[in-house]
Symmetry: C2
Subunit: 490 residues, 2 copies
């Protein structure tokens, strides 16, 4: 029996029927309100094998228009998924605003299974729980409704159900190896489940334990909890949440105005020699990375016309095209905008052993989105911590994270803009927006300084590339990339 759970008595059949009709009708209505209020709803079903997770989901979705929901059955992670951070395959599944996703088991099953198979304990378990709590908090902080159900049946019931399933050829396959193991070690599993439920029971995404002995009663409990959860969520529009104190070790980054640019130049001859030498070295390291399965994430932010494109090119020239990808980041597409703002970056993460280069990044949240009012003040203020948490996740996974800020002064930008404007071949590179952004230089400078200061963690520090002399910046970038990769390969 689970601790801290006190099942209600099962009501009479008549009452269940009556309440089911009411709850179904209510959910049917609420799906339209969800859509209107643009609330994304993630419904997680965890629980014992043979407790009826799948069949309950099957009944719930009958009340929802097929355009508004998706069901994802999360079996064991695939080879591809195992090569990404633990949360990757769950983050991929989060619904867009106004829609439902139902998960047939998720991060609880994977975690408790890892515990039971002894792969996860002590410090590692604590770390996993922290990472799960952050993930769930990031969802609810960003307006997600997260409903977590645990389907409970006792040992006797589980045994009976499994025997019934195993007797028939048609249903035999539904009892997996882990289900059998679970049934044989019910008490041990109960302890692990109990601890997990306690450790992850928070006020913003609490657990609901469902008495799954009777199928109709189980359905009713789920329906009524969903209805009540949705109704509460509907009452809140754009809720602000407390800003958390930074818990990650930071390294100092200079303010933009204190960055010396004038003497950061390189002679043409030296540039050519160095470029060749460093690119060769990087090429060799790329192979070693691949074999050692170390993922690398390189990100570029910087002023318009600072020379990001050319800089990235000098890196990629050195790499095996089968082992890297460049992601140019523009404004989000509608389907991206409808999800957690980090979703489009989570889904672009490299496999281990691969390099992903981001030309502009998640830091748009605290620059353009902040300055243009595309998100609320609470959103961007909260984002510094969310990004540190995101990068912590990547770093714990084993990724090398290299973040560049490409720096030029205002005069240099003007010269390059003018050059682009006057040169027919380069005119595509300059838009009215670039000129408008330039007018906000000072505001951007404040935002960039705050970003550099608050997100330069020891595990993902910012590197400044002085780029008035673009060649100097390219050599410096190559050197840093090589140095950071060597650190992890040694």
């Amino acid at each position: 029996m689970l601790k801290n759970w006190n099942p209600e008595e099962i009501p009479p059949k008549e009452e269940i029927k009556e309440r089911l009709d009411k709850a179904r009708a209510r959910l049917y209505k609420l799906q339209m309100e969800i859509k209107e209020h643009k609330v994304p709803v993630l419904v997680l079903f965890e629980g014992w094998g043979a407790s009826g997770k799948g069949s309950t989901i099957g009944k719930i979705i009958k009340n929802i228009d097929p355009r508004f929901f998706k069901v994802a059955t999360m079996s064991a992670p695939t080879e591809e998924e195992l090569r990404r951070p633990f949360l990757y395959r769950y983050m991929k599944q989060i619904p867009e605003a106004g829609k439902f996703t139902f998960l047939d088991s998720g991060w609880m099953e994977e975690t408790t299974k890892d515990c039971l198979e002894k792969e996860l304990s002590g410090e590692d378990y604590t770390k996993r729980i922290e990472s799960i709590k952050r993930f769930e908090r990031q969802l609810t902080d960003n307006g997600y409704l997260l409903l977590k159900f645990f389907m409970q049946i006792d040992h006797k019931e589980q045994t009976a159900r499994m025997e019934r399933l195993l007797q028939e050829k048609d249903t035999e396959w539904r009892v997996g190896g882990f289900d059998k193991w679970q049934n044989e070690h019910y008490k041990k599993c109960c302890k692990v489940f109990d601890r997990y439920l306690t450790d992850t029971n928070t006020s913003t995404s609490p657990w609901y334990i469902i008495d799954a002995l009777d199928k109709k009663w189980a359905e009713l409990q789920v329906l009524e909890t969903m209805v009540s959860g949705i109704e509460v969520a509907m009452q809140n529009s754009a809720h602000s949440v407390p800003l958390l104190q930074n818990v990650f070790p930071l390294v100092k980054v200079p303010k933009l105005k204190d960055i010396e640019l004038a003497d950061k130049t390189i002679e043409d001859d030296e540039y050519k020699v160095e470029l060749k030498r460093l690119q060769k070295k990087l090429g060799i390291l790329h192979n070693r990375l691949y074999r050692k399965r170390v993922p690398v994430i390189i990100t570029y932010e910087g002023w318009d016309a600072a020379g990001k494109g050319g800089n990235i090119k000098r890196i990629t020239e050195a790499l095996d095209p089968r082992g890297f990808e460049v992601h140019p980041i523009a404004s989000p597409e509608p389907h991206e905008k409808a999800r957690h703002y980090l979703w489009r970056f989570w889904t672009r993460l490299p496999k281990d052993g691969h390099i992903a280069i981001f030309d502009r990044t998640w830091y748009g949240r605290v620059m353009v989105e902040r300055l243009e009012g595309f998100c609320s003040e609470n959103d961007w203020r909260r984002a510094y911590n969310e990004m540190n948490e995101f990068e912590k996740e990547l770093s714990d996974w084993g990724a090398v994270i290299i973040k560049f800020w490409v720096q030029i002064d205002k005069d240099t930008q003007l010269a390059r803009f003018t050059d682009r404007q006057n040169n027919p071949e380069k005119q595509w590179k300059i838009t009215d927006e670039d000129w408008r952004n330039r007018e906000k230089w000072d505001l951007y400078e404040v935002a960039v300084n705050e970003m550099l200061q608050k997100t330069s963690t020891t595990y993902a520090p910012w590197h400044i590339l002085e780029s008035v002399d673009k060649k100097y910046a390219r050599i410096k970038a190559l050197k840093i990339v090589i140095e950071e990769i060597e650190k992890v390969l040694d």
Copy 2:
């Protein structure tokens, strides 16, 4: 050094000065907004001895109008306070809407001190943490802004400060016995503090660790965190929170319509004999309660004219007047309404060994407040759990809780109303409001049934008093009170 804390580098003096001016001005303005938005702000200062809790509070309040704040220095609990539940003296201090309370150390210091003095460990510690988390969640769920600061100095700094204080006659007294002990066992304390900070760090009331080495820098950190916390709170009006699943064991209570009233009568002669016998017995038990220091809380709810007053009278007749108090509960006064709705009940709790009788109770939240719309739907739906938690606190403290629902039928009420109306001596007992409430009988019945079902816990169950025959109800009440008290005295 505390885990999960990464102090920022102290900024240059010039910058601190500039930011201080800005933050002070901002706080000065925000106090008016706090007042307007009716947000209550509880600021808790915890931290090492000699870390400057008091002096920092002293500086912060200079920016706030004296009418809007209160400072409470929580030294060791008094004899009177020790005779009440742990949280009693903190609950007493919570601010009213639109005002600040600053606490110079609080439930963290008391708890960690108990840990260090070995009085609190294992299960008891876990229970204490749970109770603290519930307390803090109840505050934030009910619209309180709770800001928790921990003032951090290292061992060397603490030693130096204490030495300085001890050298002067004028300041010597400021170093207490526990401060000295703390300094001698710095590492051990650090461990206990660390665990407490981790265990109680939630997303709705997170900890802010203040680097208190430099006084101006400490003041700035506190000010800026306060300003940001208040600004976030201002953005939210009437926020709804998820409803939690009940975790407390419940006992079954019949629905009102299924309560048999007709045969619940008693003959006059028998009544007189029984009344005498039971009252005598209760009187004796009252003395034993007093000596054993067991607190008793008896609560009455029921229909208008059900006979609550006469029933209470038959109880109190048996008691020593120095050992009980009756609290008639009407609509809350303005100063009560301005606080957490349970505040006026917390502050009326009996000392151990005493009996408190409540004529109407906190359950008004889910009856009159629900039906008259005096609170939001989220408020009253959440209240079932809040009351179970409140009573759990009382029960863990050792209190006997006896909750009565005094039941009559609609016809009986009409007869008694009419009798009151027609009898000049009783007319004061009947008001227009009674007649209006009577019209809502059916709605009340739904609310009462839900209340009985959701708040009848094993540690604080509801007892039904069938009161068409008032004498029967009085005898039954006396018997239940005696039985419940005997259970705990045996």
